[in-house]
Amino acid sequence: MKLRHRETGESHEAIIDLLLEEDWKVIEKSDSFSFNWKQEKKRTVNKIRLKNESEIQGLVSYEDIPKEFRIHLHLIENSQQNKGKLKKYDFIAGCLIARTCEIAFEKNYNGFVSLEPKTELVFLYKNKYGFEEMGNYLFTELSNSERLIKEYLTYEK
């Protein structure tokens, strides 16, 4: 997967992996993230970073719910330098969402990923990522999840 440097337009190879104990110490000390990530410790938390760098560019927390054959996305946040009009890299949140879709296929959940977002943002997530509504939740599955993987993780060219 690749992140695009907004100013230069160059693509940089990126990696998503599990957040390590030492990462928690860095997150807690820094002001790169606005949300209280400490309370996400009870869930699975992944980070995205450039291939040869340790700096965390974004975080995602999710829950595996096998009984309902789904991955539930709880929180995503880009680091401070990747927010707003002057962000450093593009595609961070998209890559993090796409990776959860991939996990949902690996686990035979039909690529089903759910989230219960803030009401004000529902339309935007539907529009940007193709999520659909189900009850009070949003979800993606099958073709749309595969589309997100192809768009953001681009294994096949």
């Binding site: 606005s34 309902e68 709880h74 990747n82 969402i97 296929f105 803030k118 940007k128 294994y155």
Partner: protein, 184 residues
């Protein structure tokens, strides 16, 4: 420490909702009771949706399940003897509900060759990887089949000590001889 609602309120002072949607995915804050009702309702809807998937959707889901399991395995650094080419191709045949004879006709190879491949006695070449990609309608790319096969070959090279020794006997001239056997 601020809760999500307070953080969001603060972010909204600086960014538009659209900008926030581009850099964050934020959960809806509700009371415990409301969250429980929502969750239970959603669980029912989700299971209903899964139960009502069409045959075509099930097939797509199964193909993508095989594809991403393959990807996860070939990207990993471990070897799993049960996750071999023959077994995965066998799972594929089961998923697409094709008998060996039908499948060999589908991809224009001799049934005995397919049988050897399914028994792990023959390796595939690039051409067959392309045919497998074609058979799945492009859902499982040739490169995934190829990498799966290559991972198996890698494992064989690392573990086939006897064959390696046997084949070395066929070498009639060695360009560089070392006293240190560890290098050889």
């Amino acid at each position: 420490m601020k809760n999500n609602k307070e953080v969001y309120k603060k972010l909204r002072e600086e960014y538009s909702a659209e900008e926030i949607a581009n850099f964050a995915m934020i959960p809806h804050e509700t009371t415990e009771k409301e969250a429980k009702i929502s969750k239970e309702e959603f669980a029912k809807l989700r299971l209903k949706r899964r139960a009502e998937m069409s045959e075509k959707e099930r097939l797509l889901s199964g193909l993508l399940n095989i594809k991403y399991q393959m990807k996860s395995y070939v990207d990993s650094s471990y070897f799993d003897t049960s996750f071999n080419f023959a077994n995965i191709l066998g799972s594929y045949l089961k998923l697409v509900d094709r008998k060996q004879k039908e499948f060999s006709e589908d991809i224009s190879i001799h049934p005995s060759r397919l049988n050897r491949i399914l028994k792990g006695k023959e390796k595939i070449g690039k051409k067959l990887a392309y045919r497998l990609e074609g058979h799945s309608g492009g859902i499982i790319p040739a490169i995934f089949w190829w990498k799966l096969m290559q991972k198996e070959v890698e494992q064989e090279i690392l573990t086939e000590i006897e064959m390696k020794a046997e084949e070395k006997k066929q070498v009639n001239y060695i360009v560089y001889k070392t006293k240190n056997k560890k290098i050889a």
